[in-house]
């Protein structure tokens, strides 16, 4: 009887591979993952990140016999589009995307469409025990959307501003959004932001929105017409003043963060910003920015969020994807990622939960000349619900992007 049941179970497992990989039984996951190839769809625009993933691929191959292939995207939404197309074609298994680097609106869209693996898998990963969601609440709520174990945290992000201390003085740098407008009036043409819907540009809009909004509670809820007009009014009054004072008079915008970084290197602007506190140190190390670039933040806080990896509902190498997600969360991989010479992406782990050997990996890292210490990063502001970002982008385009 038992043999019959086992055979039945096996045939079921063959029919419905989604049930085969249960992260609670980690040894079974490791066994099944052996020999699998995991296609990790991740933005490929940064050589640092690509090189880091190549290192991870080497380790995964030798330790778990899992082959990690980075599918380099120029926009994460392309991977979402692929999963959508597969669902449209009725392909419920054997999909082409095994793992996807994701957060914010892409996560909200995939979750709403049921395109992600459920089962609370992310909270069952072995390395999850080093995570403390109380210390980093954005791990459970991705742009206010409950994560519910459908994606596993990979790195932290915080909005930080950079300037070249050889050209501008640290004490002259703005300390708030209002301050930035006053500064721009004195220095017309020396600031800009990437054109929304680019992710960094939209983040700048959200930063100003969160600072100026009269009703901050409305930002945690999905947007509606009435609240949008009232809550965003101060932001657009601000932009009406700021945009004509921007680089090129606000008639053209850099298309993304790297393009804006190049403007600082070319001395076309004085102030830029990024969502990674050690980005300036990494850029100095690679010779893209001069060694005199330094960081600053706003005194009352800047936006902070977490980025994740998710597994599509129809992933072909599901067990392999679980193994990769767990490896990316391990103290070893996380510490290496935080080193600005490698990538400089802050960890999602809680140092208090690590043993002394693992903690030492993090304490050894030289954060670089332009990176603020974690206690100098200032308060963290919560991201608004993703629906705000979409409304802001549409409204921005209507007002400034399609004149």
């Amino acid at each position: 009887m038992r043999r019959l049941l086992a055979a039945f179970g096996l045939s079921l497992a063959l029919l419905i591979p989604a049930y085969a990989a249960d992260p609670a039984d980690w040894n079974a996951v490791l066994a099944e993952a052996k020999g699998e190839t995991v296609y990790f769809n991740a933005w490929g625009g940064s050589e640092n990140i690509n090189a880091y993933l190549e290192w991870a691929a080497g380790e995964l191959k030798s330790r778990y016999d899992v082959t990690l292939v980075q599918v380099k995207l120029d926009d994460t939404a392309n991977a979402v589009a692929k999963v959508v197309a597969e669902k449209a074609a009725g392909q419920a298994q054997g999909g082409s995307v095994d793992l996807i680097w994701i957060n914010g609106e892409n996560f909200a869209a995939m979750k709403a469409q049921g395109l992600l693996l459920g089962n609370n898998w992310a909270e069952k990963l072995p390395s999850r025990r080093f995570v403390d969601a109380n210390e980093k609440p954005t791990i459970l709520s991705d742009f206010t959307v409950p994560v519910e174990g459908q994606e596993s945290p990979w790195g932290m992000a915080k909005l930080v501003f950079f300037h070249d201390s050889a050209k501008t003085k640290p004490e002259d740098m703005p300390k708030s959004a209002a301050d930035l407008l006053a500064w721009a009036k004195e220095h017309p043409g020396r600031f800009t932001y990437p054109q929304p819907p680019d992710f960094s540009g939209s983040s700048f809009l959200k930063q100003v929105l969160v600072e100026l909004a009269p009703d901050k509670a409305a930002l945690a809820k999905p947007v509606d017409d009435a609240s949008f007009t009232a809550v965003s009014a101060p932001l657009f009054a601000y932009l009406d003043q700021l945009n004509p004072l921007l680089w090129r008079g606000g008639r053209a915008f850099p298309q993304n963060y790297p393009a804006m970084k190049q403007l600082l290197a070319d001395n076309e602007v004085d102030v830029i910003f990024a969502f990674n506190p050690s980005e300036a140190s990494s850029a100095i190390a690679s010779g893209e920015l001069p060694g005199t670039v330094r960081s600053f933040t706003f005194t009352k806080g800047t936006l902070a969020n977490t980025h994740f990896v998710g597994i599509p509902f129809n992933a072909k190498a599901e067990a392999g994807a679980l193994v990769v997600a767990d490896f990316l969360l391990s103290p070893e991989a996380q510490a290496r990622k935080q080193d600005p010479k490698v990538w400089g992406d802050p960890t999602v782990l809680s140092l208090a939960k690590l043993d002394s050997a693992d903690r030492a990996r993090f304490e050894r890292i030289d954060l670089g000349p332009a990176t603020l210490k974690p206690d100098h990063l200032g308060p963290a502001l919560d991201e608004p619900h993703p629906s705000w970002m979409e409304r802001l982008e549409t409204e921005w385009t209507k007002r400034y992007g399609a004149k």
């Binding site: 050589e47 197309a85 008639r251 053209a252 290197a265």
Partner: protein, 557 residues
């Protein structure tokens, strides 16, 4: 079986392999444009996607931009090509440009656009050369040169790339226009060089080039990569917005994107209609000029202007390549230094270890699709020899993939591939590349084929050679130079294809071009420089090999 019998397969194969993907792709674009895509909740046909499209802010400005930049780029390209041909064909400066055509054509559009941007931007090479000496400032001027709202930079980028293409087409069509003898006659009647060319050679020549010019009009009004690099951003051209909609995480935008793709199709069609209007005006003007009897013998100034402008486009492309080279080895390179402060091999050292696979894939797909396209072209041409004429639908069919905007059928094609359970493979990519490779290869080969003196075949046959022997031992060897050149062109087209590779390769199969564009989104100029150069490598190698083997075949014993 004789070659003629086997070649019966040619025309039907051409229809299936070119028309099939386009037709099916368009079908799967039209359905969601009218609201039907069950997987995304679109179960009924509706006009809602079009209503959403019309509500998009700045839609008509984007559409107008596409139309304007497309027509302006095409008009300037055709005018410059005509002027240069009229003023200089058959002379030494012309042959110098002719020799550069291969490399200029091989230069991928994205690489050319980046090169131009690195050259003319306010912090680019040009202003670095002037600063601070002439501009008096160590800060780059706050001028809106690249991404200007009128799209002038985009037009310039397109012209620089389209003129070499049109020159190639014109050179191929030249034998039919009987240029030399007509020029002799008009010169003996006292006409100036340019007037003589325009009145006697151009009308015949243009008739041969017309579909190629339509392809330039359609391409310029729907281009994606060049517009992303050089074009306006507030708002961008329609093609760019379309690609962004189809990649938006808000999945309901797929319907909007499909509706937009149909608008793009209509827009490119409108551009061609307007162009036909231009043709009438042009013909009318030319006929009036010719009828009033003036001979325009003093065209020296115009001739030199044409040469200067032509030299400028060649110079811009070459200087752009130089800028790419400099950036690929630059360390820190602050404005206004003309050369990098430090040299760094970071761009290349990052690139080399991961170059093998994308280069290998691109080369394999390029070779396969070019060979396949050559076979197809030979089948069709041999069939045409047998029937004595080219079917009427041949030219329109060949130009179809070049005229229908890529975005209008590629997303549908991607859905199709999934439906058919087609796993991305070298073969499926080769088939998709074939849609674009076959037309270029065919167009490059056909003129030489039809110019071939068929009496050689009759002589060989009368000496007892079988049809196969005649083909293998006489005709193909005699046409080897043209065959090799067309292979090199087909190969270069395949290597440069971005959207088809991205969508059908599904990221599983990457080529040097998909890798280059993905990395370009990171905006690191060192990496862009290195990848753009690597992207040029394969087509350049292709032309070099074609040239060397032709020399080898034709060497004197």
């Amino acid at each position: 079986m004789t070659p003629a019998a086997l070649s019966r397969l040619g025309p039907p194969l051409l229809v299936i392999l070119l028309g099939g993907p386009i037709g099916l792709g368009l079908l799967f674009t039209v359905l969601p444009a009218f609201g039907y895509l069950p997987a995304l909740g679109g179960n009924v046909f509706s006009l809602e996607p079009f209503q959403r499209l019309l509500a998009e802010p700045g839609l008509w400005k984007s559409a107008g931009l596409s139309l304007w930049t497309g027509l302006a780029a095409a008009l300037l390209s055709v005018a410059l090509t005509t002027a240069f041909l009229a003023a200089w064909s058959g002379t030494r400066p012309f042959r110098a440009v002719e020799r550069l055509l291969g490399p200029l054509l091989a230069l991928p559009h994205a690489a050319a656009a980046f090169g131009l941007a690195f050259l003319i931007a306010p912090s680019g090479l040009f202003f670095r050369a002037l600063s601070p000496g002439l501009t008096g400032s160590a800060t780059p001027p706050d001028l809106l040169i690249v991404n200007d709202p009128l799209g002038l930079a985009l037009i310039a980028g397109l012209v620089a790339k389209e003129v070499p293409f049109l020159l190639l087409v014109a050179l191929a069509a030249m034998p039919q226009a009987d240029g030399e003898r007509r020029m002799l006659v008009s010169a003996s009647l006292g006409y100036g060089r340019m007037a003589g060319f325009l009145f006697t050679v151009w009308p015949t020549l243009y008739r041969q080039m017309r579909l190629a010019v339509f392809a330039v009009v359609a391409f310029s009004s729907s281009v994606v990569d060049v517009a992303a690099i050089l074009g306006p951003t507030t708002p961008p051209t329609l093609s760019l917005r379309l690609v962004r909609w189809s990649a938006d995480p808000d999945l309901s935008l797929r319907f909007l994107a499909s509706a937009g793709a149909l608008l793009q199709l209509a827009l490119s069609a409108l551009a061609i209609l307007v162009w036909i209007g231009f043709e009438r005006i042009g013909r009318h003007g030319r006929e009036n000029l010719a009828a009033n009897g003036q001979r325009f013998p003093g065209d020296r100034a115009v001739r030199w202007l044409a040469l200067v402008l032509q030299a400028l486009t060649v110079f811009a492309l070459l200087a752009g390549i130089l800028a790419l080279m400099l950036w690929s080895v630059a360390g820190l390179w602050p404005f206004p230094d003309f050369l990098p402060l430090t040299v760094s091999i970071q761009g290349w050292s990052n690139l080399l270890p991961r170059l093998a696979e994308p280069l290998g894939n691109a080369a394999l797909i390029g070779v396969l699709s070019a060979l396949f396209a050559l076979l197809l072209a030979l089948f069709c041409l041999i069939r045409e020899d047998a029937t004595g004429l080219a079917p009427r639908w041949r030219s329109p069919l060949l130009y179809l993939p070049l005229i229908v905007p890529q975005a209008a059928f590629l997303f549908g094609l991607q859905l199709m591939a999934l439906w058919g359970g087609l796993v991305p493979s070298i073969l499926s990519l080769t088939l998709v590349h074939l849609v674009f490779v076959a037309p270029y290869l065919f167009l490059a080969l056909a003129p030489a084929w039809s110019a071939y003196d068929r009496r050689y075949e009759q002589v060989a046959a009368s000496l007892g050679g079988s049809a196969w022997t005649v083909l293998w031992r006489i005709k193909l060897p005699m046409l080897s130079r043209a065959v090799l050149a067309s292979l090199a062109i087909g190969f270069a087209v395949s290597v440069g294809l971005y959207l088809p590779t991205l969508l059908i390769g599904a990221g599983r199969i990457t080529t040097i071009t998909t890798e280059a564009v993905a990395l370009a989104s990171g905006g690191n100029r060192r990496v862009i420089g290195a990848y753009a150069l690597a992207q040029m490598l394969l087509p350049a190698l292709g032309f070099l090999l074609a040239d060397l083997s032709a020399r080898l075949i034709w060497r004197r014993p």
